[in-house]
């Protein structure tokens, strides 16, 4: 059991330790890379340990926020320093800690301006952690934007040939959504007045409760809903706002891609669940079909487009679009209005909604693990061959068996093979969604087949067939690379077999959300 | 003094004053101008005598003729290097100067004659002849101009010092 002081400070530590690490890095000498790398590795490892402490100290049966901290910050405008985690954010925080540590470890190969690189990386971690922990809109928005800036520089400085274009596209695109969200936050802010003090507040929990007691109405509510949706849909990225993703991924450095795909995309879906569903259940129900449609299109469209890619990173990027489509579909199913009929009772349908959300959340975590690992593998290959053209390889498995086995393993996880974690999330999301959207879910199954097709085709062109003579001296994975991937692979396997450790808290939170928060409307 | 002589003296002095003044403003040689200026001052002093202001006339002669003109002559000498004798002494504004002078005269004339010879309601010649003691009393007596007088003396002192400072050669 954690002492109370420790649990009070845990989230603050998780968020700000990387920030202090980043500041400390700035004071290190510029010409020596190793102290910087050691410091970044140690800091991110400590954060990872803290995340594990959070994970183990989390009570997965309790609803509501845990480890919460609340202190007034700018009381005159109702801003408070309010942090807390529930079953939705806790797994994502743990994922962030893990992926950041692995990315930092992998980034030891970075030798160009390492000081700035690692400082940005740790700053990025602060932003991501804060986004998931914040329970105050002001705080949330601050962290949301903080996470944007280091990523912009990571892509823009350490990226590929078209890095400026990609970085600016990434930044502006996200910013457009953020601004829309800011307006919606202000709408909520001014809609609520504390009956006692007569003040407005940015506190998220208070605002959610207020939306229940005295909701925004009419056009204002619809517009706010869409504003939130826009911000998060761009981040996810949901069709048709997804085109920044392939560019950003292709240009980003490997570790940047890992974090981008593994964590930043989750901020979008996290927001959809946390804010759109909880704050606007009526609007969510009204427009659930739109979200579902977007999800289904993303699944089919993303996988179809991925199939046509010849750049390995683009392929993985578009596969992300497809995989996040499952998350969108799950969220849509949870949002949708339910009509009990003779075919299905209300209880089954509500359970199905929770199932869909569970699947969506699990899919977020799994996608983070799997796609993170995939990007690492792509990076490993790129590091050795300096190109990513799928057709330019061939028969590598014979030459690099460990790499081949890992790529096959991760690809299979990504295409949803049972026993590996990708399957559980996808399966649960579809299982729940099917009860709500029968035809749509049935259609999205096409995406599963196509996903399998392009992954197998990719494997075939890279690993199988006769060995391309250019790569007869290709080196297999070195120790660092193996140890970067090993924890991911292990987790993929464990969560594939027994997802309960992650799913239990998620289920508690989602059950609470669907029954107690959305159900009140 | 009877009327004829008075009139004769007045007109003679007027011609002297105005003629000399015209010479002052028109001659090219600045030294000649200075001498004509002396003539004009003397004429004005004569007019003062005609107006029973002997004290002032004396002052006029002493200060204007004796001091100021000498001062001017010194200045002319000091700046002699650039005093070409045949230099053009009028600038481009001289026509405007003529206009200004004539218009002033016309204006004053118009006022004077417009009042039908009754300017300030003065009629005839006063009978009292002022005495020098009256001036002394006005200047230095009780309820008089003692303060302005003292200030004027101070002004002179200041002007003298100032002139010395301004005209002094800077020692570098």
């Amino acid at each position: 059991m954690q002492s109370s002081t420790f649990s009070q400070w845990l989230l603050t530590l998780i968020i700000f330790l990387p920030l202090f690490g980043a500041i400390a890095i700035l004071f290190l000498p510029k010409d020596k890379a190793n102290p910087v790398k050691w410091l970044a590795t140690i800091v991110s490892f400590v954060v990872l340990v803290l995340c594990v402490a959070l994970f183990t100290g989390f009570d997965s049966t309790a609803t509501g926020m845990q480890f919460d901290v609340s202190a007034p910050w700018i009381p005159s405008i109702g801003v408070s320093y309010h942090l807390g985690v529930d079953g939705l954010s806790m797994p994502l925080i743990a994922l962030t800690g893990l992926l950041t540590f692995i990315s930092v470890l992998y980034s030891w190969i970075i030798n160009e301006r390492p000081k700035e690189y690692f400082a940005f990386f740790l700053l990025l971690e602060t932003g991501m952690m804060g986004t998931f922990c914040a329970l105050d809109f002001f705080l949330f928005y601050t962290f949301w934007e903080i996470s944007l800036v280091p990523m912009y520089f990571l892509i823009g400085i350490w990226g590929g040939p078209r890095r400026e274009y990609a970085a600016i596209k990434f930044f502006l695109y996200t910013l457009v959504g953020s601004v829309a969200m800011l307006l919606a936050i202000l709408a909520l802010y001014f809609n609520y007045t504390d009956p006692v003090t007569g003040k407005h507040t940015f506190d998220i929990l208070t605002l959610i409760a207020a939306q229940h007691a005295k909701p925004l109405l009419g056009l204002a509510a619809t517009l706010s809903f869409w504003a939130f949706y826009l911000a998060f849909a761009i981040k996810v990225p949901a069709f048709p706002f997804h085109t920044w993703l392939p560019d950003a991924h292709v240009e980003a450095p490997t570790a940047g891609s890992v974090i981008l795909a593994g964590v930043l995309l989750k901020m979008g879906t996290y927001g959809l669940v946390r804010f759109n569903l909880a704050l606007f259940p009526l609007q969510s129900a009204e427009f659930a079909w739109v979200i579902a449609l977007v999800g289904i299109i993303a699944i089919i469209y993303g996988s179809m487009v991925a199939m046509a890619q010849s750049d390995l990173k683009k392929l993985v990027a578009y596969s992300s679009v497809g995989h996040m489509g499952f998350v969108m579909l799950g969220i849509a199913a949870a949002a949708a209005p339910i009509v009990p009929d003779s075919q299905a009772t209300r209880e089954i349908l509500i359970n199905a909604k929770v199932t869909a959300l569970n699947g969506a959340t699990l899919q977020m975590v799994n996608h983070g693990l799997i796609t993170g690992a995939l990007f690492l593998l792509v990076g490993v290959l790129y590091e050795r061959t300096h190109h990513r053209n799928i057709d330019g390889f061939g028969g590598l498995w014979k030459r690099v068996p460990v790499y081949g086995a890992m790529l096959v393993y991760i690809s299979l996880a990504s295409l949803g093979l049972p026993g590996l974690s990708g399957f559980v999330g996808e399966f649960l999301a579809l299982l729940g969604s099917f009860a709500i959207f029968k035809l749509g879910t049935a259609l999205s199954v096409i995406g599963i087949v196509v996903t399998a097709a392009y992954f197998l085709w990719m494997l075939q062109r890279i690993l199988l067939g006769p060995l391309n003579e250019r790569y007869k001296d290709l080196l297999d994975m070195n120790a660092v690379e193996k140890w970067c991937l090993a924890p991911l692979m292990l987790l993929i396997f464990i969560l594939g077999i027994y997802p309960a450790p992650v799913l239990d808290p998620v289920n508690t939170a989602m059950n609470h959300l669907v029954r107690d928060v959305m159900g009140l409307f | 003094m009877n009327g004829f002589w008075e009139q004769f003296t007045f007109y003679a002095l007027a011609v002297l004053v105005l003629g000399s003044a015209l010479m002052v403003v028109t001659l090219r040689n600045i030294v000649h101008c200075a001498f004509f200026l002396i003539m004009a001052f003397l004429g004005v002093a004569g007019l003062f005598v005609l107006l029973y202001a002997e004290f002032i006339a004396g002052v006029q002669v002493l200060i204007y003729v004796g001091a100021i003109t000498v001062l001017i002559l010194f200045a002319i000498m000091l700046t002699q290097k650039v005093l070409g004798v045949r230099l053009k002494q009028n600038n481009t504004l001289s026509p405007l100067g003529v206009v200004a002078g004539v218009s002033f005269f016309a204006l004053v004339g118009a006022i004077t004659f417009g009042s039908a010879g009754n300017l300030f309601g003065v009629h005839g010649e006063p009978t009292i002849a002022p005495r020098i003691t009256t001036i002394a009393e006005s200047l230095l007596g009780n309820g008089s101009y003692v303060l302005p007088f003292e200030i004027a003396s101070l002004l002179l002192l200041v002007a003298m010092v100032g002139a010395i400072v301004i005209a002094r050669e800077k020692d570098q």
């Binding site: - | 008075e6 009139q7 007045f10 007027a14 004053v17 105005l18 003044a21 002052v24 403003v25 600045i30 200026l37 004009a40 007019l47 003062f48 107006l51 202001a53 002032i56 006029q60 200060i63 204007y64 100021i68 001017i72 200045a75 002319i76 000091l78 700046t79 290097k81 650039v82 002494q89 009028n90 600038n91 481009t92 001289s94 405007l96 100067g97 003529v98 002078g101 005269f105 004339g109 004077t112 300030f120 003065v122 010649e125 006063p126 002022p130 009256t134 001036i135 006005s138 200047l139 004027a152 003396s153 002004l155 002179l156 002007a159 003298m160 002139a163 010395i164 301004i166 005209a167 050669e169």
Partner: protein
């Protein structure tokens, strides 16, 4: 009979000539001389009014004394300036001293 009007007109004429001189002369010393003429014109007026308007109190004469004093001071300063000007710029024609021209 000589009335005050005669003196006024005479002084006006002298003043007018002074105006012309002040405006038209190039030589700075000349300008000063014309200023003296104008002051004399004023003095004539002063004395004439003292004679015709306030013969008992001779206020005009008192003022004439002040004017003469001031004129002396003015000339002293003016000539000092002219000499300074000459020394610094080697010229005393006022239309040539045009540092303040646009």
């Amino acid at each position: 009979m000589i009335t005050v009007n005669h003196y006024v007109l005479l002084s006006a004429a002298l003043f007018a000539i002074g105006i012309y001189g002040v405006v038209a002369r190039r030589n700075a010393v000349g300008v000063l001389m014309c200023v003296e003429l104008m002051l004399n014109a004023v003095n004539i007026n002063m004395i004439a009014f003292a004679r015709y308007v306030t013969p008992a109190r001779v206020t005009g004469q008192v003022f004439a004394v002040f004017i003469i004093t001031v004129a002396a001071a003015e000339v002293a300063i003016g000539l000092a300036l002219v000499i300074n000007l000459y020394r610094n710029m080697n010229k005393i024609n006022v239309d040539e001293v045009n540092l303040m021209k646009w």
